[in-house]
Amino acid sequence: MVAARGITVAYPGGVRALDDVSVDVPRGAVFGLLGPNGAGKSTLLRVLATLQRPDAGSVTLAGIDALADPERARAHLGFLPQEFGFPPALTPLELLDHFALLKGFARASERREAVQAMLERLNLWGVRSRAVKALSGGMKQRLGLAVALIAAPDVLIVDEPTVALDPAERHRVHDLLMELAETRAVVLSTHLVSDVEALCHATMILHRGRVVRVGAPQALCAALRSRVFRAQLSRTDAAGVRAAHRVVREFLVAGSIQMTVIADVPPDARFTAAEPTLDDVYAEATS
């Protein structure tokens, strides 16, 4: 459903935001993009969403060459950018009606039904006639999702969809994305490893514009099996381990440092083998 090959985006000065990145997302899958700030996630999403032309590579959405014929590809696309807004004086009903019409709901009755169903589905029906400026952050986020989902796109591209939501709202968006993914391809970018673990059939870790890991979360974790060791150390001991081993994660727990090391054998007797998590994979790939 989404196939991108050899995507390269370079900025003036030679900095490569993306370097030979390829993505395949079949129908029925949620594909997660992970990476630190500046890794190129949002650039990749914008390329997939036909908003930015890559310097090299190809993008196919729902079988359509999105670089040669972006207008046709857009008919199959729903996009939720990381940062967005709406004209503050307009209402959710007016906005969604506008987007629905331009997505192809030309018949008024059909459009009315689709808009109402979407607003109800995202708990926005009660505020349909309020100006956008009077909506809370969570409501605006749901309105953005409603805009992305109207017209049931085959490909849904979402950039940090749960960033402004409270935990309950976040779970509902997760459920919605999982449900939608049953019949379409979803590409999701996030900073939250837990989101990827909860939602994604496959994930890609980007670092400095390059793909450093790609695969199913379970498979990525399995690749690290027997190589992850953890220990709780004092600050003094931690300094010694840091100098001699590949420490991928460490954080303070009750005054001591919980340290995770990737190695073929445990650094010393204080370290015990641990079941790898996606956090370990992410830390190992980007450290």
């Binding site: 036909t50 019409l101 997505k103 589905r121």
Partner: protein, 549 residues
Amino acid sequence: MHASLQRVRSVVRLELLTQRREPLTALYMLVFFLLAAAFAAAGPVELVRDRGSVPPDAAWSLMLASTALTAFGQVITTMVAATVVLRDRADRVDELLRVTLLRPREYLTGKLFAALGLLCLIYTAIPAGLVCGAVIGGGKAWHAVLAVAPPFLIVVLPTMLAVGAIQFGLGALSGRLWVIVGQGLLLIWLWSSAVNAVPHAGGDLLVLLDPFASAPLLRASATWTDAQRTTLAMPVTAALVFNRVLWLLLGTAVAGIAVVRAPNAARAGRRGAGSADDVLELPTSAATSTGASPPLASPTLTLPAWRAVLAWAVHVTRWMVRDTGWRVLAVLGTLNVAVHVALDVTRGMAPAALSTLVVSALEQHARLFLILLATIYAGEVVWREREDRSAAFLDVLPTHDGDAVIGRIVGVVAAQGTLVMMMGAAVTATGMLFSGSPVAPGILVGGLFATALVPFIAWMLVALAVHVVVQQKVAAHLVCIVGWVVVVRIQGSVTVGAGSADMAWGVVVVLPAAMFIAWLGWVRGERGSLADRWREARRRASSPFALGR
């Protein structure tokens, strides 16, 4: 006290550093300098009307050129005041600042001094340009300096300080751009009314209302012969001094109130925003849970091009006519022309000429508002979606580029056309009410079309094309303003597109050309490099018939 001063100084320093790195500061100075120098060097730039045989480097000419540039510079004063006072809020930096040791009053005081300091720097380009131009034109440098110094110290500097302080104060109190812009227009209206009152009896009091001090100078030198204009220095009359003192006091008062009161307003605003969220948040339901909702509806029809164009037009018209700034400008513009018609009629215009008077009022008094609205909202069509961050949603819609651009243009033309109709209706009603005579519909409709609607739309589309090509909002606005001044000067009058020949040119050449450029250069998605934009324009140009699909 010392710590407080240090914090104020830090705010001033940071603001000036920010502005120094803004290319616009240099651009503003350049505009002032070039206009002033070109005028004083006796080039084609004519800043002083009815100059006769008085040379452009005479004290009288330089004095009036200073006042003209100061009045023109209100666009720049407005932009600087708005940027300084509103940018932190727009960038969401104000909340970070509020949790520092910086007190709101220190913050506003620092910002005020920074704004005024920056304006001082920018406005020094006026005397510098005038002196430079006078020297280039063959005049003596010392003579030019002596001639330029009084108007700079008595007219330009106090005006800049007073108007800058008023705009800053109102911006700080309201937190709204439209208040600053609306107030700028109000000042221009006061200036225009005071200048119009100069030849009339009782004008002595009215000239006090001129914030730019043109009227007291014009009144004092109204009876001067060309010889006197060429030789006499600037007349410093009691009316001029009172005018200056009045406006400086007003500026100090507004800025003082803002510094004292605005922090309270800001705190109240924060509380209000929090409670609104609490009230509006709905109880959540299980409607989005897995399996509980019906499948999403898919569209069954392909959208015809005309329907897409209409949808875009409705969207643009809708947000424009609900925009507070547009509404304020529209109401001010309508009131302005209506008041002028009322004044003209009561001054004894023959009822038989009412239709001509109404058309003439539209041409004379609506022009400034129409040009400002055309320039501002042509820019808004290009920038608003990016600024309110809805552009990404709109850019991925499956509509043809041509439909989207034409639709937006139709939308903005419809909204602006509504405004022209409002003005037409207001002047007609006022004229009929005050004269008791009917208006000839043929003359009125023809005049409205020829003197207001077509030039207005032509100018708006030109401004739109400029914004699309320049791709930098403020720079494009400046290009438009400078372009307008150049057009006015080339035409040799202050009327853009008033004649039928202009109208014909507008319809035949300007409108299609501007629309074509806007369509060719319209940026969808990331802006890309110049080469990318050129490639995209060529791609669109290679299939022009896809425009209407």
